[in-house]
C-alpha cells in the first residue's frame, strides 16, 4: 500500500521543474565561475582560472563592503519589521470596531511589485517634486537629498522595506497568534501573572516557530533585494546602498564580467544557505522540543 514509488511519483513533477529551471542554471554558473570570462576583454573566450575568482573575492574591497552593507540592511530592516509586526499583530488578535478596515488598508503594500514600490518612493523623495523633502524642509528645516547624503539614503531604503514588508510579517504572526491555544494564557492570568510575564514566558516561546519562520523568509528575501532599491537610489549615493544583489548585477550585466560575477553569486548563495540552514536547524529543534 505505502510503496515509496507513489510518493516519488507525486514529488516528481516538482523536482523535475526545479531541476531544469533551478538546478541546471546553477551548474552552469558553477562552471562559468571557474573561468576568467569577459567577452569584452582583450583575450576572446573563456580562460580557465580554477578557483582564482574565489581567491580574488576575498581581497575585493568593494565586494566585502557590499556584503557588510547588505548584512546591516537585512539585520536592521528585519528587526524593525519583526518588532513592529509583532506589536501590530497582537492588537489585531482581539476584535475591535474597524479592525477589518484597518487590516485591509494596511496590507496594500504587500501586493505591489517591488519595482512599483521603488518607483513610488522615488516619486516621494525627489527634491523639488516629492512631498518628503518639501515637508522635512518646511517643518524641520532638514535638507533631505537622497542623491547626496548616504545616511538618509540608507535610512530611506530601510523605511521603504519596512513599509513594503511589515504587513506580511504582521499577517503571518497574526495567523500564528490566532492559531495559538488560548487555555494556557487564560490559566496564567488566573494564576496572577502580569502581562509582561505572560508575553515573556508564554507567548514568545509558543510563537518561537512562527517567529523563526518569518525571520527565515524575510532574511532570505532581504539579502537578495534588488528591484526596489535599484529603482529608488540605483545603489547610490556612491555605493551607500549598493547591496550585494545590485553589486552582482553591475558586475555581471553592464560590466559583463561573467566569470567573476558567477563566482561572487555562488559565494553569496553559499553564505545565505549557511545562514538559513542554521535557522532551519533551530526551527527543527524548537519543533522537536514541543513534540
Amino acid at each position: 500500500m505505502r510503496s515509496n514509488r507513489m510518493g516519488w511519483a507525486l514529488l516528481a513533477p516538482t523536482l523535475a521543474i526545479l531541476a531544469v529551471v533551478g538546478f541546471l542554471p546553477f551548474l552552469y554558473v558553477l562552471y562559468v565561475g571557474l573561468f576568467d570570462w569577459n567577452p569584452f576583454s582583450n583575450q576572446l573566450g573563456m580562460q580557465w582560472a580554477a578557483v582564482n575568482n574565489y581567491r580574488r573575492l576575498v581581497f575585493d574591497g568593494a565586494f566585502l563592503d557590499s556584503l557588510w552593507r547588505t548584512g546591516l540592511f537585512a539585520f536592521v530592516s528585519v528587526s524593525i519589521e519583526l518588532s513592529l509586526g509583532f506589536l501590530l499583530a497582537q492588537t489585531l488578535v482581539k476584535n475591535f470596531p474597524g479592525r477589518t478596515v484597518f487590516r485591509t488598508l494596511y496590507v496594500l503594500p504587500l501586493v505591489m511589485a517591488p519595482i512599483a514600490v521603488g518607483a513610488t518612493w522615488r516619486l516621494l523623495t525627489i527634491p523639488g517634486f516629492g512631498p518628503i523633502p518639501y515637508f522635512l524642509d518646511k517643518w524641520f528645516g532638514i535638507d533631505y537629498r537622497l542623491g547626496t547624503f548616504a545616511d538618509q539614503a540608507f535610512l530611506t531604503v530601510v523605511l521603504m522595506d519596512v513599509w513594503h514588508w511589515t504587513p506580511f510579517v504582521t499577517l503571518t504572526l497574526l495567523a500564528g497568534l490566532t492559531a495559538m491555544p488560548k487555555e494556557p494564557l487564560e490559566q496564567a492570568q488566573v494564576d496572577g501573572a502580569n502581562r509582561w510575564q505572560v508575553f515573556r514566558y508564554l507567548t514568545i516561546p509558543m510563537m518561537m516557530p512562527v517567529l523563526l519562520t518569518v525571520i527565515f523568509i524575510r532574511l532570505m528575501d532581504a539579502l537578495r533585494v534588488v528591484d526596489e532599491v535599484f529603482m529608488l537610489t540605483s545603489g547610490g549615493p556612491g555605493t551607500a546602498t549598493q547591496f550585494i544583489g545590485i553589486h552582482i548585477y553591475r558586475v555581471v550585466v553592464p560590466k559583463t564580467d561573467y566569470g567573476y560575477g558567477s563566482a561572487m553569486s555562488l559565494l553569496v548563495l553559499y553564505f545565505t544557505i549557511v545562514l538559513c540552514w542554521l535557522l532551519f536547524i533551530a526551527l527543527a529543534q524548537v519543533g522537536k522540543q514541543r513534540e
Partner: protein, 494 residues
C-alpha cells in the same frame, strides 16, 4: 463557501483578460501616412520579392527614445506596406537593451535581426565580430541596393561606424550634440543685466569661460533666492548612482578643460599620470572640482538627475543655464505640453579653458560630446537580406525630415535644408544650424573596446566626489589607479 468564492474570482479574472484581449483586437494600431514617395513602391516590392522576403518578420531592439519610437510607429508600418516585411521593434530601457542585445549576439541566438548601436559601444561590438559588414553585404547583393540609399549622403557621423578599412557596420539613425542651453528671457532682461553688471563688472552673457559660467550660476541662484523663485544657476547631470554622471563629466566637462578620452593614454592604455595617462592630471582635477562645485548652484534634485531629469528640470524653468543633450533641446524650446520655457531657450557653445577651442578647431581636441547611434545587423541574424532592405529604407533621404522633427536628430547633410527642419531651427535659437556649423568641434566617445567595463570601475569614484564622500583630487587619484588595474585585468597595457 470558500470554493465558491475562488471560482467567482477566477471567473472574474478570466473575464477580465478576455475583455482586455477583446480590446486589443478592436483597437487597430495607429498607422500614420507613409512618408515614402509613390514611385519607389515598385522597387522595394521587387527587391523584397527577389530575396523572398515577403511575409518575413524581422525583429530589432532599441532604446525607447523619440527617434526609435518614430521608427517603430511610422517607418515600420510604411516599410511593411511597401515590402511585405513585418518589422517588430522592441523599444526598452537603456540598460536592458544592452543586456539583451549582447546576450543574443554573444550566444549567437539570432533573436534580433537589427540592434541599436550607440556610438560609444560600436568598438566593443566590432572587436567581438558581432556585426555584419554592410558595405560588403551591399556589394554582394546588387539586386538589393536601393538607388535611394547611399552611405555618402550621411554626415561625417557615419565615420564612427567604420572599421579601419572604411567598411560600414551601421546605418546612422540619430545624432545630436550635447549643447549649452540658457534662458533667453533671463539673460535678456534689462533689469537683470544691470544688476549683473553692477555686481561683476562685466556684461551678462552666455559663458565662454568657466569662471564666467560660475559667475552666471552664482548670480542666478542668488537671484532666485532673493525673488522667492524656484530658480537655480545651472543644471548638473549628477546622479550619484547612474552612469549618466560619469558621461557628463568625462564627455562634456573634462574636454572643455582639455582632458580628452577619459584621460586614458591610448598608446599604452594607462590612466594615471605616473604611467603617462591623464585621468588624475591637474586639469582633470580642476575640471571635477569645478563641476562638483556647481552642485551648490544647481537645483536640489541634481544628485538624482540623469539625462532625462536634467531636461525636465530645465523644461520646468528651474535652471538658468546648463549642459543639455541636444535630443531634448527641440522639445524644451517648442513643446508647450511638456515645457514651461517655450520660446525662451538659447543655445551656445559650452565654455572652455584657454587653448581648448583652438585645439578643437585644428582637430587635436574637442569641446563636447557628439552623441548618437545607428542600426546594425548582427552576424547571428537569420534574415540578413531582408534586414538590409529595412536598413536601406530608414537610410533614405525622403524619410529624414519628418524623423528629424519627431526626434530632433539629424544624420544627413541634406536634412538641414529641409523647410520643416528649418522651421524648428528658427524656434530653437538655431540649434540645428549650430550643430551643422560647429558639429566638428564635438566628438563621440573614444574608440575603447572595453568601454562599459572600465566605466563600471571608474564611475563609483565620480559618484563619491559628487556626494562629497571624496574630494575631487582623491576621487580622480583613486579612479585612475583603479582604471590602471582594471585595464591590465582586461588584457590592455600589461
Amino acid at each position: 463557501m470558500f470554493k465558491h468564492k475562488l471560482t467567482v474570482m477566477l471567473g472574474i479574472l478570466v473575464l477580465f483578460s478576455m475583455v482586455l484581449s477583446g480590446c486589443a483586437a478592436a483597437v487597430p494600431a495607429a498607422q500614420p501616412a507613409a512618408p515614402a514617395a509613390e514611385g519607389e513602391a515598385s522597387w522595394w516590392k521587387t527587391a523584397s520579392q527577389s530575396a523572398s522576403c515577403e511575409g518575413v518578420t524581422i525583429r530589432g531592439i532599441s532604446e525607447s527614445t523619440p527617434p526609435s519610437n518614430f521608427a517603430r510607429e511610422t517607418l515600420a508600418p510604411a516599410f511593411q506596406a511597401e515590402t511585405g516585411i513585418t518589422v517588430e521593434l522592441e523599444t526598452t530601457s537603456w540598460d536592458e537593451m544592452y543586456n539583451k542585445a549582447i546576450n543574443d549576439m554573444q550566444a549567437g541566438t539570432g533573436i534580433y535581426d537589427f540592434v541599436y548601436i550607440e556610438q560609444d559601444i560600436i568598438y566593443q561590438y566590432l572587436a567581438n565580430n558581432y556585426l555584419v559588414n554592410l558595405t560588403q553585404l551591399l556589394a554582394d547583393n546588387p539586386n538589393l541596393a536601393s538607388p535611394d540609399f547611399d552611405f555618402a549622403k550621411f554626415t561625417s557621423f557615419i565615420d564612427n561606424f567604420k572599421d579601419a578599412d572604411g567598411n560600414i557596420y551601421g546605418v546612422p539613425m540619430e545624432a545630436f550634440v550635447k549643447i549649452y542651453l540658457y534662458r533667453l528671457d533671463l539673460f535678456n532682461d534689462p533689469a537683470i543685466q544691470e544688476a549683473f553688471a553692477a555686481e561683476y563688472g562685466y556684461d551678462l552673457a552666455p559663458a565662454t569661460t568657466h569662471q564666467q559660467y560660475q559667475d552666471n550660476a552664482t548670480f542666478f541662484t542668488q537671484y532666485g533666492t532673493d525673488n522667492g523663485l524656484e530658480l537655480w544657476g545651472t543644471t548638473v547631470q549628477g546622479n550619484t548612482g547612474h552612469a549618466s554622471s560619469f558621461y557628463e563629466f568625462f564627455e562634456s566637462i573634462a574636454p572643455t578643460f582639455g582632458v580628452y578620452n577619459w584621460g586614458i593614454n591610448s598608446e599604452n592604455w594607462k590612466a594615471t599620470v605616473e604611467n603617462g595617462g591623464g585621468m588624475n592630471s591637474d586639469a582633470a582635477k580642476e575640471a571635477l572640482a569645478f563641476w562638483v562645485g556647481l552642485l551648490q548652484y544647481a537645483p536640489p534634485e541634481a544628485t538624482q538627475s540623469t539625462w532625462d531629469e536634467v531636461a525636465a528640470s530645465f523644461a520646468a524653468g528651474r535652471a538658468a543655464q546648463g549642459w543639455v543633450y541636444g535630443e531634448n533641446a527641440a522639445w524644451i524650446a517648442t513643446d508647450p505640453d511638456r515645457s514651461k520655457v517655450v520660446g525662451n531657450v538659447g543655445v551656445a557653445l559650452p565654455p572652455v579653458s584657454e587653448g581648448v577651442m583652438e585645439a578643437a578647431a585644428d582637430g587635436s581636441g574637442y569641446i563636447g560630446y557628439y552623441d548618437g547611434g545607428s542600426f546594425g545587423l548582427p552576424v547571428s541574424s537569420k534574415n540578413q537580406q531582408c534586414t538590409l532592405l529595412w536598413l536601406e529604407y530608414i537610410g533614405q533621404e525622403s524619410v529624414q525630415a519628418d524623423w528629424a522633427v519627431a526626434g530632433s536628430r539629424i544624420v544627413m547633410e541634406s536634412t538641414y535644408d529641409d523647410p520643416k527642419v528649418q522651421e524648428v531651427d528658427a524656434k530653437t535659437d538655431n540649434y540645428y544650424t549650430l550643430m551643422k556649423d560647429e558639429g566638428p568641434l564635438f566628438r563621440g566617445a573614444p574608440p575603447f573596446p572595453f568601454h562599459s567595463a572600465l566605466r563600471e570601475v571608474v564611475q563609483p569614484f565620480i559618484w563619491k566626489a559628487l556626494s562629497g564622500e571624496l574630494t575631487a583630487a582623491d576621487a580622480l587619484d583613486q579612479a585612475a589607479a583603479a582604471a590602471d588595474a582594471e585595464l591590465v585585468n582586461l588584457g590592455y597595457g600589461q
